[in-house]
Amino acid sequence: MRHMAGNISRITVAFGLLLTLAQQPAEAYYGVTDLSYTGLDGEGGGDTLSGFAATYRQPWDTVSNRWYDYGCECYIYFESSMGVVLNLYRPDGSHFGQAGQFDMFDASFGFSGLPANPAGDWVMYSDHNVVGRTYDPGGYYCGGYLPCELIESYWWSTNDQVRTRRCGDQRDDIIAQYPARQVPWTPQCEDFTNGVPVQSYYTWEDWRSHEYPWEWAILRDYMVANNTCIIDNTSPYFPNTFSSGYRTPNKNAGTSGAAGNSRHMHGDAADIYEYSQEGWDYLRYVAKDSGACGFACVEPRSMTPVWFHHDYRGGCPAAW
């Protein structure tokens, strides 16, 4: 059993400390670099855990003339949460496995049997609110023991996710939400923007659905441009009130009944409030039929009497 230091507001755990905590022979632990954790004592806000995770490859065992098959492991550590369920996802977003721990204090558990070369973005996601919660998790790490060989260092951070450092900023954390929420698509760094990409009557805050603390969002320029065109064509007749733009997977999951693969997470959808039948009809005509503002997929009014959903996914559902 290895565990992290206690519940303190700022912890810096050096590689050496982890080595001494490990049950395995210290010399077998490989690849750990500085690990630091900034917590807020369960008062909410952003816990930050940074240090390492790893991509491994298994070396060739020259004695037995085979690949080592001990596998590598990822572990989660937490300090005083009242129960944790940890899910591990493969780089393609598929679910690798789940582990749960419902005891409290200093528990640890993990996954073994990772493939020989688990390169890519393995994502761990924990819901530490499953049973209850007293404090944020203490930390996570992916570790391995020889013969697992570290070939790439990771950065990992935030409350609930572990992922590779790819974009080097908040985008990593948003991207990690996609496989964790089982969205069948994972964006790349370049899919994001930190401002409205083209002219719009709506603010950056509107477009990112006022979701803090994220400073990034996926906003397809053609969607924003078509939205602006729709407003240009309809605003002489009625006011348009913005309802929803980009949603992160976590935001989407908190939106009542939202589709698991909502286009709002793809950055090519927007909603406009419109209560009147006439106004709604005209929005539909301009967005879908007129050809002046692209050819949107529009959710039928029967389903959305108080707002107008339009997206640009390409092939629309048959009735849209």
């Binding site: 959305t304 959903h309 849209w320």
Partner: protein, 280 residues
């Protein structure tokens, strides 16, 4: 047609059928009897996959009947939540809309296997189902020509909700324009409509146009969608006979759209341009 209460029993039977014929999902039976829409969606996707498989499943009479019942149940649910001002998306999210669309696709696969008088019951339910004018589903519905014309004409006056009646006008317009001579837009599915039925359909459209309200506008938009010489003439005749009438040329107080005359003029220009650009 069925109301929400008596549909539940039929849907239970449908779901049981689906489970029994899909052993891999039998273990989830207990979840389904409670009928949350997500379970219905999962099962409809499962049925869709089986119907589309390399060895497609032929729907027996019970299955056909149960799918129709499920469609009627969902339509009643959609209407009920619309009238409450919530909508299925407000209550269940946009995922419901996508589920509903997949249900329509399943209905579209099963319907050709439906024989006899029950085809009319299917088409009545489908004609008033939630869909957008000009959608793929609308095209499919219209492709039934003579078989659906009476249902659409009736729905323009008897459909329960305003937008359902409006959709019926749009679909009826598409039925007429799809049988125009030499249309610009080629249709993948040929439409058979007798001369007598076409005359009746046009008469209904003329009545709708004469209202000079949102119904007229929907018909104009639908005409614009399918350019042809006949459509250009219809629009020009409509414009000529109404020019100067207040409901045609002026903004309606409290209205949310430009004057109808502007829409008609734009539609005429669009149709003329499309006809002129048509390969000879």
């Amino acid at each position: 047609m069925c109301n929400m209460r008596n549909c539940v029993a039929r849907i239970g039977a449908l779901l049981l059928f689906m489970f029994l014929s899909s052993p891999a999902q039998g273990q989830e039976l207990s979840q389904v009897t409670s009928l949350p829409w997500q379970d219905r969606a999962r099962l409809v996707r499962s049925v869709a996959a089986r119907l589309a498989s390399t060895t497609p499943v032929a729907a027996d009479e019970g299955m056909k009947s149960d799918i129709l019942s499920l469609l009627a149940f969902e339509n009643a649910l959609v209407r009920s939540l619309f009238v409450q001002g919530v909508g299925t998306s407000g209550r269940y999210g946009e995922g419901y809309s996508e589920y509903y669309s997949s249900l329509l696709e399943v209905a579209g696969v099963v319907f050709p296997q439906v024989k006899g008088p029950s085809r009319q019951a299917w088409l009545r339910e489908l004609a008033t189902s939630p869909h957008n004018p000009g959608s793929k589903f609308s095209d499919w519905l219209v492709s039934h020509g003579d078989e659906v014309v009476d249902i659409l004409i009736a729905a323009t006056t008897t459909a329960e909700l305003d937008h359902e009646r409006s959709n019926a006008f749009s679909d009826l317009t598409a039925l007429v324009t799809s049988t125009s001579t030499n249309p610009v837009r080629a249709r993948s599915i040929p439409v058979a409509l007798s001369a007598a039925n076409r005359i009746r359909a046009i008469a209904t459209l003329q009545e709708g146009l004469s209202r000079l309200d949102r119904t007229s506008r929907e018909i104009v938009w639908a005409l614009r969608r399918d350019p042809s010489d006949e459509v250009a003439l219809m629009l020009q005749t409509f414009a000529a006979s109404n020019r100067g009438r207040s409901g045609f040329t002026s903004y309606r107080i409290g209205g949310s759209q430009p004057p109808l005359s502007e829409e008609v003029d734009r539609a005429i220009a669009h149709v003329r341009a499309a006809v002129a650009a048509r390969p000879q």
